[in-house]
């Protein structure tokens, strides 16, 4: 760290400085923490570093990872989306209605879930951009609205997907394992990685991505330069919503049901992953890779503490302290930069 800081100040090493730019450094820091956790748990318990258990971790990260990607976009705009958890559930319920209640083919259910997500995201985006309701309040409202709607639409009961053969294989089975039988990486994890790559491309290589950063850095300047900020904001929230729809499908496929009461609280796990991954809650900076690393830190920590049979009370406490330490480390870095 101190070497890095000195190098940054030295004008003689511009390349190295670029490499150690705040974002890159944060990734290294988060990645280093992840490696430390993996090494620590491997030493602490022989049951940890087993293929089976690594598969468990991949499976456990998928839903939170996808939700965290959705949150990353919104948080970079200096917004927040508290509705991601219940939106995910709502989309799962929509898939349940289309597939189980109406008996339509699977692809229609999948599209309906994604479309419902994007539509709800667009509603949140409109409330934030057009009605000027602060994102925290607008999405808090959406969180409760969607929770209620999920319960109403499902008649308070879980909707099972037993009549849709193949639905559970979206999350549970392993296409990868068909090619590499010794490493059955679950489809849910592969989907997480694919979404992460696509999201990274959108964030770094498209106009939508550029405006996401620009709005988060200085919304007024973007507006004054003639850009239709409202439209881009709605687009960003819609994209986030659509990604939540995908998370809903992954979750429903994993547990073979849409559970209408589930979802509240998941937004906080997603936000934690984003923040651990170095995205600033004040907007303008962040990476998808950081978020994915953040999501893995959360799930490795949870799994590792369980494998070590740490009492559950302590699991919460340790997770909380790790989140604080991660963000504190981030603050230290920013002060030096």
């Amino acid at each position: 760290m101190s070497e890095a800081a000195t190098t940054q100040k030295s004008p003689a090493a511009p390349r190295l400085r670029a490499l150690l730019a705040p974002a890159a450094l944060q990734k290294l820091l988060a990645f280093a923490s992840l490696v430390v956790l993996l090494v620590y748990f491997s030493i602490a318990s022989p049951a940890f570093m087993q293929t089976d258990n690594m598969i468990n971790i991949l499976q456990a990260t998928a839903v939170n990872g996808v939700l965290a990607i959705a949150s990353t976009f919104v948080i970079i705009t200096a917004g927040i989306d508290l509705s991601v958890g219940t939106l995910m559930t709502f989309c799962a319920v929509i898939a349940g209605v289309v597939l189980t209640f109406w008996g339509l083919p699977m692809w229609i259910g999948l599209i309906a879930a994604l479309a419902a997500g994007a539509l709800c995201g667009a509603v949140s985006g409109t409330l934030v951009a057009k009605a000027k309701i602060p994102p925290f309040i607008a999405t808090l409202g959406m969180m409760l609205l969607l929770k209620g709607l999920s319960l109403v639409i499902s008649h308070d009961k879980p909707i099972y997907f037993n009549d849709t053969p193949g639905f559970t294989s979206i999350s549970q089975e392993s296409l990868f394992g068909d090619f590499v039988p010794s490493l059955p990486i679950p489809n849910a994890a592969m989907i997480l990685f694919i979404v992460a790559i696509l999201a990274s491309i959108v964030l770094n290589r498209t106009a939508l991505g550029r405006y996401t950063f620009a709005i988060g850095s200085n919304e007024e300047a973007v507006r004054l330069s003639g850009v239709n900020v409202d439209r881009w904001k709605i687009a960003i929230y819609s994209l986030g919503g659509g990604i939540c729809g995908l998370a809903g499908l992954l979750l429903a496929s994993r547990i073979n049901s849409a559970q209408p009461a589930l979802g509240q609280g998941y937004e906080l796990d997603a936000i934690a992953a984003v923040v651990i991954g170095g995205t600033s809650l004040s907007g303008g900076a962040g990476t998808i890779l950081g978020t994915i690393i953040g999501a893995f830190i959360m799930s490795v920590l949870t799994n590792g503490l369980r494998i070590m049979s740490v009492a559950q009370e302590w699991q919460f406490a340790v997770t909380g302290i790790i989140i604080i330490l991660a963000v504190y480390a981030d603050m230290l870095r920013k002060k030096r930069a």
Partner: protein, 313 residues
């Protein structure tokens, strides 16, 4: 540099805290995956399991998700428990189907599974240690009818709409009223997530909307404790009947704010889970369901040793 070191050291120290030695290969180890762990009810199940484990000199762990809706978190817990290669597993399913692929994995690895509190839609568990919630709630309905003179309006505050216990207790109460006490009308059924404050608000709203309400049945600890708070804040004297146990419920019954409650036998559920697992390991055949029982308690019998033994704070 020093700050970085400090962070590293703090992290290391943290992880060292609370970590127990990993299970030895020859040790009998039974993880119990519960539906929750914060409520006093689950703590009592845990206590019963620990007592049985101590008596048999085996190692157990006990954990459950933060809320009873978190089906996927419970699955993560179950898969982590399986990764530890346990001798047997105790499992209280939040959803009757979601864990079946994992239970099949346990079966393939010859790890006996004992279901407790809630069953699963599968014949993999060697037995299920549980309360007949439907019959217990019907008893609560009889007691309510008796207390209000078998006629009038009552309300119900339930913890949730989706869990097995929520459904069984609600339906057990409603069906018994309809079948045996036709002059008693249930005017409202509301859900408060078993949260004290939410349930208190619900009770107050019910009392506001139905001024002639004679009684409220709270379907679990949080629901009924909230109902007592709500009635107290409204200054209304109604018949309150609860479910489960806990310090507040016991105090309310002693002080007359609550008429009485149904108690399950959570310590018995915990003991039954561990004992059944040990029996299954010895190759004994077990009944499909072990009814761990339920009791009515009120001011008159709360200190009766037989009742006191199944109550918990």
């Amino acid at each position: 540099m020093s700050k970085k070191l400090f962070l590293g050291a703090a992290l290391g120290a943290l992880l060292a805290v609370g970590a127990s030695a990993p299970a030895r290969a020859d040790e009998t180890y039974i993880p119990l995956i519960s539906k929750g762990f914060q409520h006093q009810f689950w703590q009592a199940v845990k206590l019963g399991a620990e007592q049985a484990a101590k008596a048999a000199n085996v190692k157990i762990t006990f954990e459950g998700p933060e809320t009873e809706a978190m089906v996927d978190k419970q699955i993560d817990m179950l898969s982590a428990a399986l990764a530890k290669k346990p001798t047997a597993i105790g499992f209280a399913a939040l959803d009757s189907q979601a864990a079946i692929p994992l239970l099949k994995k346990a079966q393939a690895a010859k790890i006996p599974v004992v279901a407790f509190d809630s069953g699963v839609d599968s014949d993999i568990p060697v037995t299920t240690c549980t309360t007949n919630n439907h019959a217990a709630a019907a008893l609560a309905a009889d007691k309510m009818a008796e207390a209000i003179g078998d006629a009038g309006e009552v309300g119900v505050v339930v913890h949730d709409q989706t869990s097995r216990t929520g459904i069984d207790r609600r339906d057990g109460f409603l069906q018994q009223m309809k079948a045996k006490h036709p002059k008693v009308t249930v005017v409202d059924v509301q859900y408060g997530q078993g949260d004290h404050l939410k349930s208190a608000e619900i009770a107050k709203a019910m009392l506001q909307a139905h001024p002639s309400l004679k009684g409220i049945f709270g379907a679990n600890e949080g629901s009924v404790d909230g109902t007592v708070i709500g009635a107290k804040e409204m200054g209304k004297k109604i018949v309150i009947i609860g479910y489960d146990s806990g310090k507040e419920q016991k105090d309310s019954i002693r002080s007359g704010l609550m008429l009485g409650a149904i108690t399950q036998n959570p310590i018995g559920i915990g003991k039954c889970s561990v004992d059944s697992a040990l029996k299954a390991l010895k190759g004994e055949t077990l009944p499909k369901v072990v009814d761990t029982g339920f009791y009515w308690y009120d001011k008159s019998n709360i200190d009766d040793p037989k009742i006191a033994a199944v109550l918990y704070d």
